[in-house]
Amino acid sequence: MSDVALSSAFTAQESAAIRGDFAILSRTVRGGKPLVYLDSGATSHKPRQVLDAERAFYERHNSAVHRGAHQLAEEATDAFESARATVAGFIGAQTREVVFTKNATEALNLVAYSFSNASAAGAMDGVDPALAARFVLGAGDEIVVTEMEHHANLLPWQELARRSGATLRWIGVTDEGRLDLRDLDTVITDRTKVVAFTHVSNVLGTINPVAAIVDRARAVGALTVLDACQSVPHLAVDVVDLGVDFLAFSGHKMLGPMGVGVLWGRYDLLAAMPPFLTGGSMIEVVRMEGSTYADPPQRFEAGVPMAAQAVGLAAACDYLTVLGMPRVSAHEHALTEALLAGLAQRPWVRVIGPADGQDRSGAVAFVVEGVHPHDVGQILDDAGVAVRVGHHCAWPLHRRMKVMATTRASFAAYNTTAEVDALLTALDRVPAVFGVAV
């Protein structure tokens, strides 16, 4: 976080230039009101540079990647593989460790299904037995997640536990909205084979202490899987520094296109893993009696890949790199502090999650006492302010925080303090409409 502390939020001039790259931000909604988009945690908007990159791919190089001997096929393959290198560079990874998936959900399922598939007869033939054993799960083994996971990093592990007979355990959450690490050593034990957890909560904005969990997982020989959907778009992320074994994120939340996500994994682990989806592209030799598979990352990319989206995602990485991730973080941090300060002045609003900006990213969930979040969101929408309402695919977390649902504002680099003010002004209408005492 020291980079963030040294960096500063974007100036008004810089902000105006950034916003100019996002055509959608200049449209109006609900009868001529300027759009105030505070739902980037669900999906971000895409700058012209990303859309141009996709269009250029289709207009100049469109072809099926890794197939054909013609010039377009070569160019498309180059564009796709070059996109992989850019994405790898963005997270401090080796290029061959980056697998393109359709989204983060698929990336997390890929890892979970690798554990299942590793138990099949012959699946780990030729793999070092000690390494192979790390992927084989059964009764008596344990899978650890946290109570603050998005359903995408919970259900794949629940299902893996059900299929394998392993037991699912979880790290709890404190009333403040941070992981309760007091019983870390009793939850993660030598029975634990895998620990899957989120880097940043999509609801609370909490930035989790990755090192503490990784240290404990390593001590017991468990693999670690990090859901980085809410961190890669907002913080400088380096997979080597984090020390995890796998990391997943989606393109559409980081100014990139929909339909592309990333699984990063340590190469020796990827090389040991059996395939998840099978079909064209991912093979070595195919015979009627059986087949062998390509090395990673191709082993995990069955079918014609989403080359245009990968190219768009690389353009998004380039865009964020030019802005500078430390400055993106600093900017979003300033917006978060401004929103938390504004909400703190309204006693009828309760923030769900850490009340201060310490180890906190740009997602702020709150409730207006006595008013359902759906109704809060509707009043904000009427003023042109787009937020998310509901349980944000984190139902167990809401149950833990003793709320049915929340209203969530979330930021990206293109947001401004004027938009925070617009949210607060619109929010001030809520008590009057629903007869809540202020």
Partner: protein, 183 residues
């Protein structure tokens, strides 16, 4: 905005006939999985089939102002009426809510329900307004009423609503009754 009519806010603040009462013929529990809203609803019928009278409808609704008010108006509109009339109100309510603003609603049939006409312009909220009504038709089915007999609509009710069904006071387990066809 025309969504939050005074009538709706009033029903949401002071829901009529709220709370679960005995006796009852059937109880259902419906959930809106996108927002977590829940509605537990009981019906008590007097008589048989579609000419039976809805002697009581009691409910426990946990949700937004739209879903709570809708359950309240449902109870107002169907208690003391025949199942046939109640299903007519359901059809009128659903037709208005799914009309995208084209159908202003018939006050004769749905009473205060016409206040929900504005909801039909907000597709994301239609499910909120229908939660209690869908639970009601499911409860009728659980109570043994053939609700397919004379209604004319051929559309499908809320298609991703899960329900826990209880008949009388005997729980029948986690029955999933998606796609309750009313055709």
């Amino acid at each position: 905005m025309d969504l939050y009519q005074e009538i709706i806010l009033d029903h949401a603040k002071r829901p009529r006939h709220a709370g679960l009462r005995e006796p009852f013929d059937a109880q259902v529990h419906h959930v809106n999985p996108t927002c977590g809203d829940e509605c537990t609803l009981r019906v008590q019928l007097l008589g048989q089939g579609r000419s039976a009278v809805v002697a009581d409808l009691s409910y426990d609704a946990l949700g937004c102002s739209i879903s709570t008010a809708s359950a309240s108006i449902l109870a107002d509109e169907v208690i003391g009426h025949s199942v046939d009339e109640a299903l007519g109100s359901f059809e009128a309510m659903r037709s208005m809510l799914t009309s995208r603003g084209a159908d202003p609603g018939d006050e004769e049939q749905i009473g205060d329900g016409v206040a929900f006409a504005g909801v039909s312009k907000y597709p994301a909220r239609v499910k909120c307004a229908l939660l209690g009504w869908t639970a009601f038709t499911d409860a009728l089915v659980q109570a043994g009423v053939d609700i397919t007999a004379t209604t004319t609509s051929n559309t499908t009710t809320s298609n991703s609503t899960t329900s826990n069904t209880t008949t009388g006071s005997t729980t029948t387990g986690n029955t999933i009754t998606n796609n309750v066809e009313i055709s």
